[in-house]
């Protein structure tokens, strides 16, 4: 088609880099680096011990190979483990932040200053290894909500960190979580006190800027009894020819009757669409524990970037009557690879889980759903509903599903639905014959396909997510 040949693949509009003065460690990892990292950050002793224990365990572990993705071996000594913009103290006023960084976030649509910031969302902005600023601090602290960088939390609320860090994703859980536990530099910390509904949406925006640094952020969210919070993360990175490793760990803890909603819109640089060169390796461990009775954790993810996405936001349903949800849209195009899904671990009685996964693969990409629903021997009267749909765009992409169901008792209800569809030339012709452009047609079909997931996102982000998907698929059909 004439109309679709021009500007094949919109340039990744977040691909710029920012010139700022940085304090960075030299490349490489050993115990000295970890001690230095912990010292620079002035961490309590338990934290250093946690890191060293993780590092020693990591040394004994092997990088997993079971996932349905292919990538060249990663040289862990060729990565910078700490990279921070030069700032003397943790800043209270934005005047102390390098204006280049403020501009960067503004360009990304995340203005941090008072006049322009989003009115109903509190944002923690993370630039390479450190948190730059958190907005709306006053309003949150009036409600008793703690929302700050995890580095700051280590100084101010060490007991909370010591109690909960590693309680959902143990140090040695997997290769990348062990690495993260050893070297994580920053991330967000949230604590919602009992009987408080967080008055704002909370959001962290991650930006990788340094070409050689890995991003190892750590997020910990604790919702105490009867509290409620909605949290959103977004991410972008500049366009580089080499790969950046992003190995994050996110832990959520929901106590009795607490409710956590965690949404992700991921748009890391995906590499060159023709050659596959560059892009972010997004190897992330996300897990929530419904520790309390009647608690609820809901994951919503819209994954549209990264050369490789490899993650399974999961729920451990430990408290009786607790429930877990996973709503996912994963889009791959160019040479991207994704292996993503969830694990629902039913341990308590009357626990419920819902999985809705929508995979869209275009161009030469590969998209896999992998999910586990596990029901323990003592989890009576559990329910799971899984819906797993794939959509193929063009003739060179692939979609795969690996569902695992493991039920250890007789009183479980499992439902699993799956479908595969394709955007066909005939569908697009139908739209075009009615005067609708090919681009609008694709976005209508794709957004229709993803509707069940998008409606889970906070309003303004749902609109963003729809636009993002349309933009990505613009020239992938036909």
């Amino acid at each position: 088609m004439k109309s679709s040949e021009k500007n094949y693949h919109q340039d990744y509009k977040y691909g710029f880099t920012t010139e700022v003065e940085m304090d960075s460690f030299l490349k490489g990892l050993n115990e000295e680096v970890i001690v230095k990292l912990s010292t620079v950050k002035n961490e309590p002793e338990f934290m250093l011990n946690f890191r060293l224990k993780a590092y020693r365990q990591w040394l004994t572990m092997k990088e997993p190979t079971w996932q349905f993705v292919h990538y060249p071996p990663i040289d862990y000594q060729d990565i910078v483990y700490y990279s921070a913009p030069k700032v003397k103290e943790k800043v209270d006023s934005l005047d102390q932040i390098d204006p280049e960084i403020l501009k960067t976030f503004e360009k990304l649509g995340i203005p941090l200053n008072e006049q322009k910031r989003l009115s109903n969302v509190a944002v923690d902005a993370v630039f390479d290894s450190v948190s730059i600023a958190t907005t709306h601090k006053k309003k949150l602290s009036d409600a008793g909500v703690i929302f700050c960088s995890i580095s700051e939390a280590l100084q101010q609320f060490p007991e909370l960190i010591e109690t909960y860090l590693g309680s959902v994703v143990p140090i040695g859980d997997n290769f990348f979580s062990a690495l993260n536990s050893a070297v994580f530099t920053d991330g967000s910390f949230v604590y919602i006190p009992p009987y408080v509904e967080c008055p704002l949406e909370l959001s962290t925006y991650f930006r990788i800027n340094n070409q050689d640094s890995g991003q190892f952020e750590r997020t910990l969210i604790i919702a105490d009894q009867n509290s409620k919070v909605s949290y959103l993360e977004g991410c972008t990175a500049p366009q580089f020819d080499n790969n950046q490793l992003h190995a994050a760990v996110v832990e959520l803890v929901a106590l009795d009757d607490a409710d956590i909603k965690y949404s992700t819109v991921q748009n890391w640089y995906a590499g060159d669409p023709e050659t596959g060169k560059g892009g972010v390796f997004n190897f992330v461990t996300k897990r929530g524990k419904c520790a309390g009775k009647r608690s609820k954790i809901s994951w919503t993810q819209v994954e549209t970037g990264s050369a490789i996405t490899w993650k399974y936001p999961s729920c451990i349903l430990q408290g009786d009557d607790s429930s877990g949800e996973f709503y996912s849209v994963a889009l791959t195009n160019g040479r991207m690879q994704a292996d993503t899904g969830t694990k629902m671990i039913h341990l308590g009685n009357n626990t419920k889980s819902t999985i809705v996964s929508k995979g869209i693969s275009a161009d030469h990409s590969s998209n896999a759903y992998r999910g586990l629903v596990y029901v323990g021997p003592n989890a009576k009267n559990t329910r799971n509903y899984t819906q797993c749909d794939s959509m193929l765009v063009g003739n060179h992409s692939s979609a795969h599903t690996f569902p695992y169901i493991e039920v250890q008792n007789q009183q479980a209800h499992m439902e699993h639905e799956a479908s595969t569809s394709k955007i066909s030339e005939d569908q697009l012709f139908y739209f075009e014959q009615r005067g609708i452009s090919r681009e609008d047609a694709i976005s209508a079909v794709v957004n229709g396909f993803c509707k069940d997931v998008f409606k889970q996102l906070p309003m303004e982000f749902a609109v963003e997510a729809e636009k993002l998907l349309s933009l990505k698929l613009e020239n992938s059909v036909g």
């Binding site: 088609m1 109309s3 066909s424 005939d426 075009e432 009615r434 005067g435 609708i436 209508a444 229709g448």
Partner: protein
């Protein structure tokens, strides 16, 4: 309005299907194209609309003096060409009313007019749906998804009524319709008919032509128009079949 001159066309990398069709349609006219299965009737309509599966190997199509073959399907649609599909595709996940509004707004935008919001469009939609005696549930249902054959056809005519094209080509709109539905659809088509627009009906059956009176009837066989006449030709075909012409 439409001038087809010596049109030859084939499936891309495949067999030739049209072998020299010429047809001239003026504003205000109704043409019927009949002919045995496989004679190229649907192909003709798809080529006018610009379906990507076919290529034109010789000849021309002019629409209001402009070379249609230079335009992509969307541009042709915006110029005022509408095709009622023989087999409308099902598109799950896209709401029918939203789809209709997208199409309507594309037209308005093309004409440089302001687009309409969902509420204003609903009034336009209600009026046209009443014309075709369509149930309100069709607003909420997904585009063609799970519709019966007759429902799909009626939905095609609804789209035509909303878009008010200059030239509508209806490809076997009558097949799949029961007698009552046929009457309602045909009345709907007649109401949209005026001296400024034109209609090409592709059909196997005379009964549609009882409701929509053609000015010309053409018989297509093996990729060529082998006979043209007035409405009486269709009656003769109904009575005697195609043999007497194809053998001649």
């Amino acid at each position: 309005m439409l001038d087809i001159k010596n049109l030859h066309a084939a499936v891309i990398d495949g067999e030739p299907i049209l072998k020299g069709i010429s047809l001239s349609v003026k504003a205000g006219e109704v043409h019927a194209i009949m002919g045995p299965n496989g004679s190229g009737k649907s192909t003709t309509s798809k080529i006018i609309a610009g379906h990507p599966a076919y290529e034109v190997t010789a000849g021309k199509i002019l629409f209001e003096g402009e070379n249609l073959l230079d335009l992509d399907p969307q541009e042709r649609a915006l110029k005022g060409i509408f095709m009622g599909f023989q087999y409308p595709v099902e598109i799950a996940g896209v709401n029918n009313a939203e789809f209709l509004r997208m199409a309507y707004n594309s037209k308005l935008k093309h004409l440089g007019q302001a687009e309409v919001d969902a509420l204003d469009f609903e009034m336009i939609l209600d009026e046209k749906m009443a014309l075709l005696e369509m149930n309100q549930v069709f607003k909420e249902r997904m585009l063609n998804s799970g519709y019966s054959g007759g429902e799909k056809k009626r939905n095609e005519i609804l789209q035509m009524a909303i878009l008010e094209p200059k030239l509508a080509i209806l490809d076997e709109t009558d097949s799949g319709l029961d007698i009552d539905a046929l009457r309602i659809v045909a009345e709907g088509v007649n109401r949209t008919k005026n001296k400024n627009n034109a209609l090409i009906l592709i059909t196997h059956y005379q009964r549609l032509l009882d409701y929509i009176k053609p000015d010309y009837v053409h018989v297509l066989s093996a990729g060529k128009i082998i006979k043209s006449g007035d409405a009486s030709l269709a009656l003769k075909l109904e009575d005697q079949g195609y043999d007497w012409i194809t053998r001649a």
